[in-house]
Amino acid sequence: MKPFGNRREQLIYYTICSGAVFVALTLVAIVAFVAIKGVGCISWEFLTEIPSRMGKEGGISSAIVGTLYLTLVALVLSVPLGVGAAVYLTEYQPRVSRFTRLVELSAEALAGIPSIVFGLFGFVFFVIFLGWGWSVLSGGLTLALMILPTIMRTSQEAITAVPVEFRENSLALGATKWQTTSKIVIPSALPGIITGVILSIGRSVGETAAVLLTAGSALGMPVLPTDPARSMAVHLYFLASEGISMERAYGTALLLIIMILIINYLANLSLRRFSYRLKG
């Protein structure tokens, strides 16, 4: 379809079209570049062994586990808190409320703070003041604070979009407020909530500076939440910036991309399963 009325239309068409092509090409170029440079060093050992000689040899298994571990800790804390806050503001506060406005403004301001500032706070508060040291716990909690506003705001939007009729019908059947919220409102809003969680996972997995300041950069396998950990992004940073091994840096980058793609795919899959059950 080429809706060209005249030359001006034609010019505009090619201008905006080139924007779309540029976006697609950039993605393909970056992924292809990383894949070509990194695929050579990916092997069974790379996936399963702990780094040795600062990452020059061995694998990145501890960094993979560290990344997942940190993200898990962050989600365990931020999802209940964020969704809980969203439910409270949308369901248990009057529609126009000063408190709601205040919390929303805080969340928006929080979302705009650079991640390194969260890292600095986590370093001073969790690592030093609470004495947790560089650990999965300190790092995970710092990431949790970082993604909390995103989870709250997306959940809030998803919950607000649930039709009022659902609530009225449920209450009119004699359901209590909490029954209505937990059995009707939250399940209906779940696809939107999960979208926010996926965005947040992406941010946590990719975060470098805040993790470096709070979880440390230990090469060993983290087991306890109090152990220090190195995430894949941090490992990548050291490999590249200290010139340890560019080949391994690309390999790590490739795995990082693959990991995010897998997480998104799984989340989308469960989302589709779930909404199929709801909508048929």
Partner: protein
């Protein structure tokens, strides 16, 4: 005269400063269909929603007066709203099936009231769907999503959902106005069947529908109850000039 299922005395309802209902007195008989008619904004829906205290979900609503159901003033301080709403069900204008299976939609009410045994639920679901004339159409796909049903089917599903908690009174707020004529006529047949067991109060814009399905009709105007008579009398010999003007289509 049958015994009154609902006795309303001096009911005033306010939204913020605005008074939506002025001193309503009315006795609604049991096992009859009572229609509420009147132009938009006359207070008929507000009145309907005051019968199971749904108005209080809207911020800034204030209610005065008495609504006595089953010998109890539902606005008394010690009234259990959950119990009241179980006893007085409502069907809204927009068919609104929950985003879950047909079975779960109907089982939702019994479940929240503590029924968990599969056999009992199966029985309630089947009975309610049969009563709502929907069983034959859905019995082979009870676990399919309810959102796949047509509007008319969804509205009958909503009625089955209301019936599942075994109410005595069913309120209907323009239940047929979002439906096609065939679905609407099915719904009217259903109302006629249901009134043998339930007391029904229905708000409608459609005068023919009021005349067809109801035993008694109440005409509301600007928040006042103008006239309340057996349906035949009201439509043939309205006592009030305003009622006559409305039903003959001179305003509205």
């Amino acid at each position: 005269m049958n015994s009154a299922a609902i006795m309303v005395r001096g009911l005033n309802v306010f939204y913020q400063q605005y008074q939506a209902l002025h001193h309503i007195d009315i006795d609604i008989e049991s096992n009859k269909v009572t229609a509420l008619i009147g132009p938009s904004g006359c207070g008929k829906s507000t009145f309907l929603r005051s019968l199971n205290r749904l108005n209080e979900l809207i911020e800034g609503t204030r209610t005065e007066g008495q609504v006595v159901i089953d010998g109890v003033d539902i606005y008394a301080e010690d009234t259990d709203v959950v119990k009241l709403r179980k006893q007085v069900g409502i069907v809204f204008q927009k068919p609104s099936a929950f985003p879950m299976s047909i079975y779960d939609n109907v089982a939702y009410g019994p479940r929240i009231h503590g029924v968990n045994k599969r056999m009992v639920l199966d029985e309630i679901v089947e009975k309610s769907l049969k009563q709502a004339n929907l069983w034959e159409e859905v019995k082979d796909r009870l676990h399919a999503s309810a959102l796949r049903l047509s509007g008319g089917q969804q509205q009958r599903l909503v009625i089955a959902r209301v019936l599942s908690v075994n109410p005595a009174i069913i309120l209907m707020d323009e239940p047929a106005s979002a439906l096609d004529p065939i679905s609407a006529s099915k719904l009217e047949d259903l109302i006629a069947e249901l009134k043998t067991t339930y007391t029904i109060v229905i708000v409608t814009h459609n005068m023919q529908q009021a005349a067809r399905v109801s035993d008694a009709t109440a005409f509301f105007l600007n928040g006042h109850l103008i006239e309340y008579q057996p349906t035949e009398k009201l439509f043939v010999h309205p006592r009030d000039k305003r009622t006559e003007d409305y039903i003959t289509g001179r305003f509205g």
